[in-house]
């Protein structure tokens, strides 16, 4: 962040001092994006929070009335919301934890920088680019107990219930988590691999010269250096998992019963299928608050860590 050299212009056209002109220019460059995001993202977000205090249904808009915190009270006594909240957290932490573990294993396998590994990494990234909707369809079909390539044999050999992995209350959420793991582990591997490649080689060599065993080296040297550089990626992945929609909507639609309902699925159902805008907005606002809390925790954890590492 060095200061720009300041050309002193003497032409009357540029009566404004350079510094001010430069600042104005940069402000004009960033303004359109800020205005756009405020209008198209923040404004609706605020509008949604306002809606959450109203009894507002698109089916009978004439009878809209201010109800204070009633939607929030209804929300906390709604058993589906409670299930959805638990499911959302199980899904978020379960999926991201597994993705981290598998991703780390995969990154370590691909650490050596050669042609074979680079090609495999590109191919591995294919699931990341596949429409999440199609990902849902793939597993819906594969896991079908009637004709699916996996589901049929799983049901036949008694590994899954007769309704298949996605059709049984006991296994549906875990199956959804595994689908998410299939989709996002490669991304996690890529991020961790980038982290591994940026590790200072001299420290790794020093550890080896000092006679640290591979497992020790990994635990004491690699992991502590790797975590800070990949922490933001982990948090972002977690926030993405928190609002997952497509794969659940397609593969179970929240069912069976409410076994795979998440806050996201439930609020979309309430708002855009049953048109209970007030209630759906209350759920969405709770989600926004929870994401905010995650962000604050992230800032509190990251700032001290960054300060420590300089």
């Amino acid at each position: 962040m060095t200061d720009l050299a300041l050309p002193i212009s003497r032409s009357p056209r540029n009566a404004m001092p350079y510094r001010t002109r430069r600042r104005l220019f940069l402000l004009l460059m960033v303004a359109p994006a800020i205005v756009y995001v405020v209008l198209i993202a923040l404004w609706p977000l605020a509008q949604g929070i306002v809606y959450s205090f109203f009894d507002y249904s698109l089916l009978r808009p004439a009878s809209t009335s201010y109800v204070g915190l009633d939607n929030y009270r209804a929300l906390f006594s709604d058993t589906t919301v409670r299930t959805a909240l638990v499911n959302t957290f199980l899904f978020t932490f379960g999926a991201v934890a597994l993705e981290f573990l598998f991703g780390l294993g995969l990154a370590l396998l691909l650490w050596r920088d050669d042609r074979f590994n680079r090609i495999c990494l590109s191919l591995l990234l294919i699931p990341v680019t596949v429409t999440p909707l199609v990902v849902g369809l793939i597993f819906k079909a594969m896991l079908s107990p009637d004709y699916g390539a996996i589901g049929y044999f799983a049901a036949e050999w008694g590994l899954s219930g007769e309704h298949g992995f996605l059709g049984e209350t006991s296994s549906a959420l875990m199956t959804i988590i595994m689908i998410d793991v299939w989709e996002w582990t490669p991304l996690m591997a890529l991020i961790l691999l980038a982290g591994l490649k940026s590790l200072p080689t001299d420290i790794l060599e020093a550890a080896q010269v000092d006679g640290a065993r591979p497992l020790q080296r990994f635990r004491i040297v690699v992991l502590p250096l790797l975590l800070p550089s990949t922490f933001l990626a982990l948090v972002l992945r977690m926030m993405d998992a928190f609002r997952v929609f497509d794969i659940i909507f397609v593969s179970t639609g929240g069912g069976p019963g409410d076994a795979t309902d998440t806050l996201m699925i439930y609020s979309v159902k309430q708002g855009l299928q049953f048109f209970n805008v007030g209630f759906a907005s209350a759920i969405a606002s709770v989600m926004t608050i929870l994401i905010g809390i995650m962000a604050v925790i992230f800032i509190l954890v990251v700032k001290p860590a960054e300060a420590r590492n300089g």
Partner: protein, 293 residues
Amino acid sequence: MARAIVRGGGVPSGSAGKQGMRRAEARSILYRRVAVIVILAVFLLPLLWLLSTAYKPTRDIFATPPTLLFSPTWSNFTSVFRYFDLPELLWSSIVISLGSTVLSLLLGVPAGYALARAKFRGAVGVAYFFLAIRTVPPVATLIPFYILMRDIGLLGTWWAVILINTSLNCAFVVWMMYAYFRSSPISIEEAALTDGCNDWRTFLTVALPAVVPGIIASAIFCVMFSWNDFLFAMFLTRAETKPISVALLSAYGTKDISWGTLGALAHFSTLPIILMMLFLNRYFVQGLTKGVN
């Protein structure tokens, strides 16, 4: 596993018989490659399986027990053309993703530049603000946005989907370009400015060419996000403006439409993005690692 691992980091191993070391090294590389191939199969076979249903006649898809053998057919592709107006669906997807990409780049690239070059302390905070926008649950903005679009008469048009996709995509582009501009050297820009080149021309002719990989990566992600989106498109488009993702979902619920037809339709939904990613792999990988660090 950890044993193979840490040796993979290119750390030279000392001591012991060199010949034996080299053989052990070669063997451990071989083991790792076999493991990678197995993992690759786990990640690619499900997709290939869905795509392969497109070439199977219906009775082979529903064969019990499922079988690997089938008599290949093109009939699923002909039924895609019978049931769907495929060119129109693809055109919708293209308009939505390119529209949003162009708009996001026009808004996001200059903003990323300004934030990276500003000497104002709050610039980092503004960059994080854009990052935060991307983490807002889409349903929180979608419902009010839906009502807003209905009220101003844009509901059901491409504009509605492009506008809301752009709010997320442009926030992403700002964040990504902020990272790219920050790591691109400032000295040439300073030289241009001192030589009397004005701010705007310096941006266009000096700063931009240096971050072309970042712009390509940003574009790839914008295209991918909006092409793959179906939550927004499902509620904001109507029959004539719906993209291929929405068509896939509605087809899935229909009785007449078999898995084979779905598999055939899925080709058009997934292959463009997969091919784009494979062709522009370098930029994609670089962008993924830069955009999140």
